[in-house]
Symmetry: C2
Subunit: 470 residues, 2 copies
C-alpha cells in the first residue's frame, strides 16, 4: 500500500456540470476550480505526489458546510474536509477526485468559559491562535502536535504530541464536537458536562475518523490553568537503555512530567549543525515540569536522581523562561534541522507507539533497521507515552530510495506490532497505513470499522479511500 | 418512560425447546432455568420490579461466551451480559426475555504489567479484587463507583465515581477490551499502546454500550503508582454557593485533588444518626489529596486558603491513615445511612452532571424540586466533575410515592439539560433514561446511535430494550 501512495495520480472523472453550476451559484467567490487552488488542496505534509480535488469550496459557516455536504451527497461526489493542511499520512489527497471543503476560514473562537475550563472554536481555528486568545485568561490548551494544526484537523486525526504524557491526547481533551453528517444534518454536542454515560460515545467515534464519517465544524476542548511554575531539563546517556529506563522509572513513580522527549545522537548532531549549538551527541532526554514552584522543583530533583541512578550525565535544569526556551528550541528544530541537512529532501516519518516496557527494544530494533539505508535518518519521540518517530530523508525524485525507505517503514511497523504496539501513535492512517491497520486490527476489526462507516456514510462520500482500501 | 420501568413485567415467550436442549448439552451445570437463579439475574440495584430472563448461563471462558452468543444469534434470542449485578438504571432486566450470560466466574487476573502500568483481567473481576491483587505492586486502580462492580460492567456503563476528578473515568482508563461480537467472533485489543490513532476508536464505542453491542470478556486498564502521601480534609459552609465556589476555584487553580465530594446538610444529619458521628449539619466538602509528602501538604494548604476565602469553617485536615479512613467512612456510609433511616425503602437516584459553572445553580434548583416530596431526600456528589446524585427514598409498595419521585427525577434531569448538562454522569441509560437520552441527544443523535447498533448487532440480540426504546 505505502508504495502505491507515491505513484497515485488524480482521477479526472470531473464533477457533474450541474453540480459545478450549483456550487458556483451557492458559493460564488468561495468556490474555485482554478488549478493553483486545487493543487494547494491536493497535498499535505506527506511525501506523496499532489493529487488535487476537482474543485474547492471555502466554508465560512455551518450552513456552508451543510449545503456543500448536501450537494455532494445528491451528486454522489466525494467530499474531503481540509483544515490547515498539516496532516502527514496523505489524508487530504483527492484519490477519488471530488470536492475539497476548506474550513480554514471558519476561524472564530466562539466562547471561552474560564469557570468550566473549556473553549469552543470553529474547526479552522489553530492551536496557536487559540492559545494566543487565551493569553490573559490564566488558561492554556496543551495539545501540541508540532505543526500549527487546526482544532478540527487535530480532532479528526486524534492528534497529541509532546504534552500528551501529562495532559492526554485529543481523545481525552475533546469535550464535544459539532458535526455535519452524511444527511447534511448539523449535530451539536449533546452536553458540555465533563463526563457523561449517556449512550454511545459518538464524540470519540468522530475523534480520529479522519474526515470519513462527517465534517467537524466546531470543537469544544478542555483547557488547563497555566502552571505557576514551568521548568525544563536535559540529560544525556551513553546507552539508549539507560535513557528509556529513566523514563520508565519516572512514569512508574508517578512524577507528573509535562513533557518527556527522546532525541537520538544523530538528531542532536543535526541540530548542532543547524542551530550552532554544542549539545553532546548522545542519547538525550528533554523534560518539562509544570506545577507549583516547589512542586516543579521537586519533580526536577526526582528526575535528576533517577537519571543519576541510570548513568545520566550533565543534567541541566532550566527554570528561567529564556533558558527553558533555549532548551526546547533545540527539540523543536529537529525536523527543520534534518530537512536542512539534505536540501530538497522530503521526510518519510514513522509513527509507532509501543507499551513502554518494550520501548528500548523497539527503538534499538528501529535503529538497526534504519542503518540499512544510506539516506540520513533520525529517531525522536514522545517516549513518556511509548511513541517515537523515525525520519528518513529521501530524494523525492529517486523512486528506489523512496521504495527502500517505505520498506524500512514497514519493517519498523511490523516490529512495533510484534511488541503489541500500534502502527500509528498520533498521525492517523490516511492513505499510507491502510495495510498496516489491517495487520494491526485484523480483518474483523477493520470489518467492524467498515460497518460503522457504511452505517453513517452509506454512499461513501466522506474522504473515500482513506483508512479503508477503496 | 421512567414510570413504565416500574410496571414492567417479564415477557414469557419462552426459549425454543431446541435451544434449551443445546444450552443444557453445551453448558451442563453452568446452565440453569431454575426460578431462583433467573430471579437473581432479573434485578439490579435499580428500584424496578424483578424481570427475570428465561435462562442463565455461567460463562467460565471466552469460548463459553462465543458459544452462548452463537446460540442466541442462531435462535434470535436476546442475550444480556451480567457481571456483579450492581447497575442502577435497569440495565440487567430481561424486558424481552432471553438469556442472561453471567460472567462473574470469569474472575481471573490475567496479567499485571508493572512497567507498563496496566492490568488485564477477565470481565468478572471486581475492582476490589483487582486492588487486593495489586497490594504489593506499588500500583492501584483508582476508579471507585462505590459498589464493588466488575470491570466488565464498569466498562459497559462508562463508570467513574469519587476519584474521577483526578484519574478520569472508564473512558480514559480502559486501554483495550476483548469483546465477543454479534457474529460470535472474539475481538482482541488491537494493541496495548498508551495511545493510538489507528482507525476508529472501537474501544471507546464499546465503553458505555451497556451490553447492547457485544459481550466484554476481558478488560485492560491503566494503573497508577500508589501516591507517597495521601491525606483527607473536610470543611463546612453555611451556603451551597460558597461550597461550590470553593470547588470551582480549586479546579481553576489546577490543584490536582484526588477526590472532591459534596454532602448536603440532610445527608450529614442521616450519617450522624447512623454512624453516631457529630459532624456539623452544613454543606460539606470532603477532599482527598494524593502526591509527595510536601505536594499533598501543599494541596491541602491551598484548598484550606480557598475555603477560608469562601467562608469555609472548621477545615479539618487528616494525614494519618486512621483519621483519613474515619473521614471517608462518613462519606461512604451516606447511601446506607439513608436507607437505614427508612427501613424497607428503595432509593431512586438521579445522576445529572453539569458544567461546573452551573453547579451551584443546579444543586439549588434540585433542592427546591426535592422539597416537593415528603419522602426523605439527600444530595451528594462528585462535584469536582459537576456530577451529583439526588436520592429519594420511596416505599416500593406505594405507586403514588414512586410516581412523584419519578416526576421529580424528570424535573431535575430537565433542569440539568437546560444547563447543558447530561442526564447521566456515570450510571448509564439502561431502561430508566431512554426518554431522557432522546431529549439530550435529539432524534438525530439517537438515530446515529441506532445506526451503529444495527450495523454491529443486525438481529438485535444484545440487551434489547436498553438505551433505545424497543
Amino acid at each position: 500500500m505505502s508504495t502505491t501512495a507515491h505513484t497515485l495520480r488524480p482521477q479526472a472523472r470531473g464533477l457533474p456540470a450541474q453540480m459545478l453550476t450549483e456550487l458556483a451559484a451557492r458559493f460564488g467567490a468561495n468556490f474555485s476550480a482554478a488549478m493553483a487552488v486545487r493543487e494547494h488542496h491536493g497535498r499535505d505534509e506527506s511525501p506523496f505526489p499532489v493529487t488535487p480535488p476537482e474543485a474547492v469550496v471555502f466554508a465560512e459557516s455551518n450552513e456552508d458546510v451543510v449545503d456543500a455536504v448536501r450537494l455532494c451527497r445528491r451528486h454522489r461526489v466525494p467530499l474531503i474536509p481540509f483544515g490547515a493542511g498539516s496532516s502527514v499520512e496523505g489524508q487530504l489527497l483527492a484519490v477519488q477526485g471530488g470536492l475539497s471543503l476548506d474550513v480554514s476560514r471558519m476561524n472564530r473562537i466562539l466562547e471561552v468559559r474560564v469557570e468550566d475550563l473549556t473553549a469552543t472554536v470553529q474547526a479552522g481555528v489553530t492551536r496557536k491562535q487559540l492559545n494566543e486568545a487565551l493569553k490573559d485568561s490564566g488558561l492554556f490548551f496543551p495539545i501540541d502536535p508540532g505543526a500549527d494544526a487546526s482544532l478540527g484537523g487535530m480532532s479528526a486525526t486524534r492528534a497529541s504530541g509532546t504534552n500528551a504524557v501529562r495532559y492526554g491526547t485529543m481523545r481525552e481533551n475533546v469535550v464535544g464536537l459539532a458535526v455535519v453528517d452524511a444527511d447534511g444534518d448539523l449535530l451539536r454536542p449533546f452536553n458540555r458536562a465533563k463526563k457523561s454515560s449517556a449512550g454511545y460515545d459518538l464524540t470519540r467515534l468522530f475523534v480520529g475518523s479522519e474526515g470519513t464519517l462527517g465534517v467537524i465544524t466546531e470543537v469544544t476542548v478542555r483547557l488547563y490553568p497555566v502552571p505557576e511554575a514551568m521548568s525544563a531539563a536535559v540529560c544525556c546517556f551513553d546507552s539508549l537503555q539507560d535513557a528509556v529506563d529513566t523514563v520508565i522509572r519516572t512514569i512508574q513513580l508517578g512524577v507528573p512530567v509535562a513533557r518527556c522527549e527522546y532525541l537520538c545522537p544523530q538528531t542532536i548532531r543535526t541540530i548542532n549543525a543547524y542551530s550552532k549549538t554544542t549539545l553532546r551527541e548522545a542519547h538525550s532526554l528533554f523534560f518539562e515540569f509544570h506545577g507549583t514552584e516547589s512542586g516543579a522543583r521537586e519533580q526536577a530533583q526526582t528526575v535528576e536522581a533517577i537519571a543519576a541512578e541510570h548513568r545520566g550525565q550533565g543534567f541541566e535544569w532550566a527554570s528561567r523562561p529564556e533558558d527553558r526556551t533555549r532548551l526546547w528550541n533545540a527539540r523543536h528544530t529537529a525536523l527543520f534541522a534534518g530537512l536542512a541537512s539534505r536540501p530538497g529532501a522530503r521526510a518519510i516519518i514513522t509513527d509507532t507507539c509501543v507499551p513502554i516496557s518494550r520501548l528500548a527494544e523497539c527503538i534499538t530494533g528501529a535503529r538497526t533497521i534504519l542503518d540499512k539505508t544510506s539516506s540520513p535518518t533520525s529517531i525522536a519521540g514522545h517516549v513518556g507515552d511509548g511513541n517515537f518517530h523515525c525520519g528518513i530523508l529521501v530524494d523525492p525524485g529517486d523512486p528506489d530510495e523512496i521504495a527502500l525507505a517505505e520498506r524500512l517503514n514497514e519493517e519498523i511497523v511490523r516490529l512495533a506490532l510484534s511488541m503489541e504496539g500500534t502502527c500509528s501513535g498520533e498521525h492517523g492512517i490516511g492513505l499510507h497505513k491502510i495495510a498496516f491497520l489491517r495487520e494491526e486490527a485484523g480483518d474483523k476489526g477493520v470489518e467492524l470499522m467498515r460497518r460503522v462507516k457504511r452505517a453513517l456514510d452509506p454512499d461513501g462520500i466522506f474522504n473515500p479511500g482513506k483508512i479503508f482500501a477503496a
